[in-house]
């Protein structure tokens, strides 16, 4: 397996210079046992983000609405979800567990993997490439997904006198969403790119993030009351809608989603800190070191 025409696609003007810098790097074509992932760099920016977790006031869930979020440096993200073929290399290296379900197409995204598998792959892949790859936070995922970000698609407010009202409303929202399960694992690029050039966001493979399940009690002024509850055994999964999934779950159907069609498949892609792009020489050096082993 050789490094094949890997390149960085940049949409944001801020990262044009990075593209220029990378396309000329000759060692990309050197032989090796792992193919570098095609990467998209998304510029720094500010955006509105509906926070993960549950928000309650006087014990009743409320809708926290969008809150401002911002990244002050570019983030690199894999253009495609991690493929089955790439993931199986980690399995062959005995650093990752075999997926619970798989496509017959090694180019297709890996599915049937849990949060811990995705993390194990990130560690292995980082070690192999000498780069600092990791799962995105939900905020990063939202920023990179841009218009493909769905987040909470069901309203969260509750009527204090009648819990059934919100319950029925969510049920009907789910009906209107009319998302049919799509069990087929499609080839990469099937769902097309978003405005940042990142492929297949919000398709039928949901993506693990590092977000933990939280519950925050607030007073009328939006100030937290007491300690926030955090459970990192449950992670945030983003895609056509947000889901909360125990970290050991490999098949989306069996995991979370109090309402809504459960995720068809669980997969992931990795991001890379801006630091890796800031120090291009160091980055290339690390890769070269790896290749010389």
């Amino acid at each position: 397996m050789s490094f094949s025409h890997s390149w960085i696609e940049a949409v944001a003007a801020a990262s044009v210079s990075i593209v220029t810098a990378f396309t000329g790097v000759a060692w990309w074509n050197s032989p090796g046992d792992i193919r570098a992932a095609e990467t998209v760099v998304v510029a720094a920016g500010a955006f509105g983000f509906e926070p993960t977790g549950e928000f309650t006031a006087n014990g009743l869930e409320f809708d926290p609405g969008e809150r401002p979020a911002a990244f002050d440096r570019p983030i690199g993200i894999m253009k495609y979800q991690v493929s089955l073929g790439d993931y199986l290399r980690c399995v062959e290296a005995e650093r990752c567990e075999a997926p619970d379900s798989r496509s017959s197409d090694r180019e297709a995204p890996v599915t049937g993997i849990n949060f811990l598998d995705a993390q194990a792959y990130a560690h292995w892949y980082s070690a192999r490439t000498g780069e600092d790859w990791r799962l995105p936070t939900p905020e990063e995922w939202a920023h990179l997904a841009a218009e493909r970000f769905a987040g909470e698609v069901f309203t969260r407010g509750q009527d204090p006198a009648n819990p059934a009202i919100a319950w029925i409303r969510r049920y009907e929202e789910q009906v209107r969403l009319d998302r049919k399960p799509d069990p087929v694992i499609h080839p990469p690029g099937h769902f097309g790119p978003n405005s940042n050039g990142v492929e297949d966001l919000g398709g039928n493979v949901w993506e693990w993030t590092t977000g933990c399940y939280t519950r925050i009690e607030q007073d009328g002024d939006g100030n937290p009351v007491g300690e926030a509850y955090e459970n990192c055994g449950i992670r945030v999964v983003e895609g056509a809608h947000r889901a909360y999934m125990p970290d050991f779950i490999r098949i989306g159907r069996s995991g979370g989603c109090a309402v809504g069609t459960p995720p068809d498949h669980l997969g992931f892609r990795l991001v890379k800190d801006a630091g890796a792009f800031a120090g291009l020489i160091g980055f290339g050096q690390a890769a070269a070191n790896f290749l010389s082993h």
């Binding site: 014990g59 819990p163 009202i165 319950w167 009906v175 399960p181 509850y229």
Partner: protein, 373 residues
């Protein structure tokens, strides 16, 4: 009476001749007793509607017995039975799975015109568990594509009963698990009663037919599709003989009674649920509710059981249960073999609107971190 069908199916000219010769005497005798009465009875023509809906009917009969005329057209057609698009080469009474619920009163006469259009590929018939003799009518109703027949039977026993296709031998289970079943409800003339003889009334009735399907898979484990029922037969029988259904569903498909097709009611409304299963045992349960009055056996001359959590419908029978909704919300009505309910499809939803009753239930403490001392 002796049908052309029986004649065609009897081997040997001599036996046909003998049979024909012997029949008219008995037939004449029966006609002499019954015909004049029936000829003078009022007739009512009822247009059937597809389940879960039920045609308009009186809960208490207004007058004496009558002849109630129904027509059903048998339709063989592919039906999608789950959200993955798995297709059953279905056989249906009147185009729906289950076939429509017929409602009459005890001692009414049911007169069914059964049509098997030319476009179908197989002979069909109908066996009413509510009927007496003639294999439930199956013996008198076997029709080829391009034929129709009319059967009359007296509804002498009150209750919800299964009907199904039973065209003989291995065709019987195959036609049934291809969708050919439904129910008829014979109400007591003075309506439903509880164990004390007090009237039990309902605001609406829903007809739930449960089916077990046996869809063959290909070498990769994917469900196969076929060009026609006949094409699917050999593989399907093999799956059937394993007795492990691939789908257990309400009203013909996974999700047929959920989401936009969910059943609806209001707090305070009483719903009568008729539940039939022509082939296999099932155990209905209303999550968050109960069976107020349950005719588990489906037969209304027996007093209903009360306050049931789960009831049992024997394969080849229909049961009936009333429930008055007391709390708003989403109720799941399931076959409480939960594997069949969730994995195989036997789940319906009721969306019930109205005021919440804190006396019946209240969340006293919302989920919160565990208190530590």
């Amino acid at each position: 009476m002796f049908t052309r069908r029986q004649a065609l199916m009897t081997a040997g000219v001599a036996s046909i001749a003998a049979a024909v010769a012997s029949i008219p005497v008995a037939a004449a005798a029966r006609e002499a007793v019954a015909a004049p009465d029936i000829a003078t009875l009022p007739r009512q023509k009822v247009t059937l509607v597809a389940p879960p809906h039920v045609h308009a009917h009186d809960q208490v009969a207004r007058d004496g017995p009558k002849v109630v005329e129904f027509t059903m057209t048998i339709e063989e057609k592919p039906v999608v039975i789950d959200e993955e698009g798995t297709t059953l080469q279905a056989m249906t009474f009147n185009g729906s799975i289950p076939g429509p619920l017929m409602v009459v009163h005890e001692n009414d006469y049911v007169e069914l015109t059964l049509i098997n259009p030319e476009s179908n590929s197989m002979p069909h018939n109908i066996d009413f568990h509510a009927a007496t003799g003639g294999l439930g009518g199956g013996e008198l109703t076997l029709i080829n594509p391009g034929e129709q027949t009319r059967l009359r039977f007296k509804a002498t026993r009150a209750g919800a009963f299964v009907y199904h296709c039973a065209p003989g031998g291995p065709m019987i289970p195959w036609h049934v698990v291809s969708g050919m079943s439904g129910a008829i409800m014979v109400l007591p003339r003075d309506g439903l009663k509880d164990e004390k003889g007090e009237a039990v009334r309902y605001d609406k009735v829903v007809d739930i037919g449960e089916n077990d399907f046996y869809i063959p898979r290909d070498a990769d484990g994917n469900f196969r599709t076929y060009e026609s029922p006949a094409d699917s037969y050999a593989d399907t029988v093999e799956v059937m003989r394993g007795l492990v259904p691939t789908h257990v569903v309400f009203n013909g498909a996974k999700g047929a009674l959920t989401g936009e097709n969910a059943l609806r009611a209001r707090v305070g409304e009483t719903v009568l649920i008729v539940h039939s299963q022509a082939n296999r045992d099932t155990r209905p349960h209303l999550i968050g509710g109960h069976g107020d009055h349950v005719w588990e056996l489906g037969k209304f001359d027996n007093p209903p059981a009360k306050d049931l959590e789960t009831w049992f419908i024997r394969g080849g029978s229909a049961g009936a249960a009333t429930y008055t909704f007391l709390q708003p919300g989403i109720y799941a009505y399931v076959n409480h073999n939960l594997i069949e309910a969730v994995e195989l499809g036997a789940t319906a939803h009721f969306v019930v609107e109205g005021d919440w009753n804190d006396d019946l239930m209240k969340q006293v403490q919302a989920p919160t971190p565990i208190a530590t001392n």
